[in-house]
């Protein structure tokens, strides 16, 4: 037992059970016999209890407001994170395209280079990375609601060349000129019901929130990595395809040689339209057109 009075520091720690056990035992002994210290201990305990009295909570509306605002921030952070992931993915196809171009130069397509077919040479040596699309060159279409990729016929015709777009046989091409990459493949001809007024059904009043230019910049490398022959971007639009927010991009494709045309009747097509997911740039569908 100690005759020395206990400091407020020691009494406070004793009250909170934060004192060293050996010291605490001695201090408790002292408190039993020291009126001054036990009185001070009680006073500090009162102060602690007084500070600890509950705070009246705010009303539910105030909680709702505060939580909503914080959730808005959480959503923004999530969007930023997703955009960053997609940007990282977008960098990879560019690397793949570069490797493919280098491989082509080394000799993977050497037989084609050695042939007399200069058109093929031009196509194979053309790197997708050599095209730059400026805002002035690209026709921007209205928001589209697509049931099938063939629904693009009319908007492309209206945007690019009203007299010449012809998609006959586009998706049913032999040799896979027009690849259908989504699981729910569209019909090659627009025979689905409800498409008689295609132009009306495709015009939806809403646009999704992402900026079209940003989406195009993000997704274009994916399309070019998917197909090296893609040339200049001619058309872009926001769309909904299979209930997914999508972006439509239509590219020139390199004309093929006459010998190819004999083997592949679809080589007449020189426009390739990609429908891609706006969130992660997956290829949802591809369709060829002749311009």
């Amino acid at each position: 037992m100690t005759d020395e009075h206990l400091s407020d520091d020691a009494l406070s720690a004793l009250l909170d059970e934060e004192e060293n056990p050996g010291v605490a035992a001695v201090s408790h002994d002292h408190l039993e016999s020291c009126v001054m210290c036990s009185s001070r201990f009680a006073a500090l305990k009162d102060a602690a209890q007084w500070i600890g009295q509950p705070v009246t909570p705010v009303d539910e509306l105030a909680v709702e407001r505060a939580v909503s605002r914080a959730l808005d921030v959480a959503r923004e952070e999530l969007d930023k994170h997703h955009r960053s992931l997609v940007q990282q993915l977008a960098r990879r196809p560019a690397a793949i395209a570069t490797v493919a171009a280098v491989a082509a130069t080394i000799g993977i397509i050497a037989p084609r280079i050695l042939s007399d077919d200069t058109a093929d040479q031009q196509a194979s040596s053309r790197s997708s990375a050599s095209y730059s699309t400026t805002a002035d060159d690209v026709v921007e279409g209205e928001f589209l609601r697509l049931n099938a990729t063939s629904d693009l016929r009319e908007p492309l015709r209206n945007a690019l060349d009203p007299s010449r777009v012809n998609d006959e046989g586009g998706a049913s091409a032999v040799g896979g000129e027009a690849e259908v990459t989504n699981e729910s493949a569209e019909e090659p001809v627009p025979s689905s019901p409800g498409l008689n007024n295609a132009s009306e059904s495709m015009k939806a009043p809403r646009r999704y929130s992402a900026n079209l230019g940003d989406t195009q910049k993000r997704c274009e490398p994916f399309a070019r990595a998917h197909e090296e022959r893609l040339g200049k971007l001619r058309f872009r639009a926001q769309a909904v395809f299979d209930d997914a927010e999508a972006v439509v991009m239509a590219f020139d494709i390199a004309p093929t040689s006459s010998s190819d045309a004999n083997k592949n009747p679809t080589s007449q097509f020189n426009l390739r339209a990609y429908v891609m997911s706006a969130s992660d740039c997956r290829v949802l569908s591809v369709q060829s057109f002749a311009l």
């Binding site: 934060e18 007084w50 914080a70 959730l71």
Partner: protein, 211 residues
């Protein structure tokens, strides 16, 4: 009783961990659940540190900072401890903002503290059983009395006596050694008690009598 409180704390920590994990994977409903579950606790802390006038703003900033920082929360401390750290930083920001106001506005704030506290208690009386008048006075005095402490002491005593944090947890929140926490709590309580007793000299007299 102590073991019951401990097991409650453990259960809360487990649930928080689960929700944090989901929120970090992008589950906004988990984020919302977390924010709602901890709003009252964080508001209480902010209320006692910055006063009733700025408590809403401080709490809002704390929730926003939590929503923003959740992705980087590494789980080394409990979510509760981490959220207290975020909230105390938000309170410091509010206090700095307040200090930039003119002296006239500051004086107005002092009387607003008492007035706002009285209004809040009046609202509470409308929805709750009648409160003892002396307790109402106590509430007003506590808000005023807390402003007499330094920010450091105020945070320490509130984290201990209102929030129930251990010295170790408070040290993590305030980023100071546990020994510093111990002395801030002791001085804060002592100053408050003497303030309420109306004899601010008492603590200094006692100090001189101690060996």
């Amino acid at each position: 009783m102590s073991s019951h409180l401990d097991s409650t704390k453990i259960a809360i920590a487990e649930e928080d961990r689960r929700l944090v994990h989901l929120a970090q994977k992008g589950d906004l409903r988990a984020t919302e659940t977390l924010l709602r579950a901890h709003h009252a606790r964080l508001y209480a802390l902010c209320r006692r540190i910055v006063g009733p006038h700025d408590a809403d703003d401080a709490t809002q900033e704390a929730l926003i900072a939590i929503a923003r920082g959740l992705a980087n929360f590494d789980g080394r401390s409990s979510f509760v401890t981490w959220s207290y750290r975020v909230a105390t930083n938000a309170c410091l920001d509010e206090i700095r903002k307040r200090q930039r106001r003119t002296s006239h506005e500051l004086l107005q704030d002092q009387s607003d503290i008492a007035t706002s506290a009285h209004i809040n208690e009046a609202r509470a009386r409308e929805s709750n059983p009648p409160i003892d008048v002396e307790r109402v006075v106590d509430h007003i005095d506590l808000d005023t009395a807390l402003t007499a402490l330094s920010i450091e002491q105020r945070m320490a005593v509130v984290l201990r006596d209102l929030c129930g944090c251990s010295y170790e947890e408070i040290a993590t929140v305030l980023q100071v050694p546990p020994g510093t926490v111990r002395s801030r709590i002791a001085r804060g309580r002592s100053q408050l008690r003497d303030y309420l007793a109306g004899n601010p000299e008492t603590s200094s007299q006692r100090q001189s009598s101690q060996p």
